[in-house]
């Protein structure tokens, strides 16, 4: 294994793992939420080691093994600065550009960093900001009405008192009353206006950045098909550099190993296509 620990940033308060590899395009991995740099289910480690490219996975200030930033910096500034310092590390090894990987908050962080740092030439955004449309809402309503499991759960909830009595008698898990997965628009994540997101994606692609957006079941209340995304952003030109995929059979953090493997292969294909285009 060709990995080593790097302490970097102001006062060397940040900690990351640098993996050596082939080529001049480095891969950069961001925290997802509060999980440290290995990523949910060690996904960042899996992805970093799946490709020959040099890579750097690190903890933002205050996360994982990294110490907090000074109190004077805003959280947004601190994140952008941390990412810039991390890219410096990859560039110090000979990299000339970076493909940045981010899931959820990590996707948000990459999006904001790329607007200020043109060394990020590729963005892999897993469940970034998502927006709905009239068409998406209508199609989602039809999907829900046609889903027999939703009817089964509704019936189950109606008989929940009996279910509770049964559950009191045993150690079994109460599967019928499990909450729905979180709605991304009801959690503490500030979405920029749709117009702003569209304009910025257009600006990024206009300046040669390639973007892969991968949505999962997590955003199913907002969109379930790539066409809905393109419908929402039909006023914007993404210069043939934006690829959107939606997989409603995958959960937000790719928990099943088969989903993790599929993710690796999807990204491998996108990276290969991107490399071929640049030749």
């Amino acid at each position: 294994m060709k990995e080593r620990v790097v302490s970097f940033g102001q006062d060397e308060r940040l900690v990351g793992i640098l993996k050596s590899g082939k080529g001049r395009v480095g891969h950069l991995f961001l925290n997802a939420g509060i999980v440290h740099r290995i990523g949910p289910h060690r996904l960042n480690v899996t992805l970093a080691r799946a490709f020959d490219a040099p890579s750097f996975r690190f903890d933002l200030s205050g996360l994982g093994d990294s110490r907090p930033a000074s109190a004077t910096a805003s959280n947004e500034d601190s994140i952008v600065n941390d990412i810039s310092d991390a890219i410096d590390i990859l560039f110090s090894t000979g990299c000339e550009s970076v493909v940045a990987f981010g899931l959820c908050s990590g996707a948000d962080d990459i999006y904001h960093a790329a607007l200020n740092d043109n060394r990020i030439t590729g963005l892999i955004l897993m469940d970034p900001y998502a927006y709905t449309s009239t068409r998406a809402r209508l199609e989602r309503t039809i999907e829900k009405a046609a889903d027999p499991s939703r009817w089964a759960r509704a019936i189950s909830r109606l008989t929940s008192k009996e279910a509770e009595r049964e559950n009191d008698k045993s150690d079994s898990l109460d599967l019928s009353n499990m909450p729905e997965p979180a709605d991304p628009q009801t959690i503490d994540r500030v979405f920029p206006p749709r117009q702003e997101f569209g304009e910025n994606l257009s600006r990024l692609t206009a300046t040669g950045r390639d973007i892969l957006i991968l949505y999962t079941k997590y955003v199913e209340e907002l969109l379930t098909k790539p066409e809905q995304f393109h419908d929402t952003f039909r006023d914007f030109d993404f210069h043939d550099r934006l690829t959107v995929m939606v997989n409603p059979d995958v959960d937000h953090t790719y928990t099943l190993l088969a989903c993790q493997q599929e993710l690796v292969e999807t990204i491998r294909q996108w990276l290969d296509d991107r490399r071929d285009r640049s030749l």
Binding site: V35, I38, R42, D65, L175, T255, L257
Partner: protein
């Protein structure tokens, strides 16, 4: 905190060393032994807080990732109870080298406590004892818990159809996002904490109260396990592996306080 790789270069382990920040306290050194999979993610912050508090109290502390986990080398399938025990012994020696401590205590959480108990069978030099924090007592019961959590997670994340497609009779190959090797399953099927006979100096139990199965009832620890056995009273019962709060943290601060006090007064 100093982060570094250690061990055999072909089998690198990622470690974090917390040097004591209080001098003259004459505290034993402490190796923290993480649990497995999602439970290691859930307890990440707890171990960080515990390591910082112990180092402030004067103890040199080592945290590390097992081979096949975290930032250490290897695929998740490489992880087994035997490999966890080997890695704990490696971390033990590394910490002795770094700190020059004559006595080292292991704090193991969940499967980390079980791995530590197996490692203790090797009677490593300088081992002062084990604090077993909610240890997995029966591997067979733990497998049942993992299986039901896995099914519940699929149902929670992907719905009824996906969970029904899960073959509950097939060997368990993954648990909340982490692979499980056949070897680990085989080890767990026969593992019982109370059948180990390391005869260590001291064992401190830090139990959970929520166990309901007979297999998980708190065992009477026989005298062949340790010369001295005592218990940290229960404080809270954190959910280390619930499927509906993945990728979050649990920090049971009262238990952490109790563990620090136990190490401070270790005899």
């Amino acid at each position: 905190m100093t982060a570094f790789y250690f061990g055999d270069p072909s089998r690198p382990l990622f470690g974090r060393y917390f040097a004591p920040t209080t001098r003259g306290a004459k505290m034993p050194a402490v190796v923290l032994c993480s649990p497995f999979g999602e439970e290691a993610v859930r307890s990440f912050k707890s171990f960080h807080v515990l390591a910082e508090r112990l180092s402030k109290a004067g103890a040199p502390v080592m945290r590390f990732d097992y081979y096949g986990s975290g930032d250490s080398g290897g695929d998740g399938k490489a992880l087994s109870l035997a490999s966890m025990a080997d890695d704990i012994l490696e971390a033990h020696e590394e910490l002795r080298d770094m700190s020059l401590a004559t006595q080292v205590i292991w704090v193991g959480l969940r499967l980390g406590a079980s791995g530590a108990a197996i490692a203790a069978l090797q009677k490593p030099s300088g081992l002062g004892g084990l604090i077993a924090w909610e240890p997995i007592l029966s591997g067979a019961h733990y497998l049942e818990v993992m299986r039901s959590s896995q099914v519940a997670n699929i149902r929670f994340q992907l719905g009824d159809a996906a969970s029904k497609a899960f073959n509950t009779n097939a060997p368990l190959k993954e648990y909340l996002g982490f692979p499980i090797s056949e070897h680990l399953v085989e080890e767990l099927e026969t593992f019982r904490f109370d059948q180990l006979t390391p005869k260590m100096r001291r064992l401190v139990w830090a139990p959970a109260s929520h166990f309901k199965s007979d297999d998980e009832k708190w065992p009477t620890v026989s005298e062949h396990f340790a010369h001295k056995v005592d218990e940290i009273p229960k404080t809270t019962d954190p959910a280390w592996n619930s499927e509906n709060a993945m990728n979050s943290f649990v920090v049971p601060i009262l238990m952490i306080d109790q563990i620090v006090k136990t190490v401070e007064t270790w005899r």
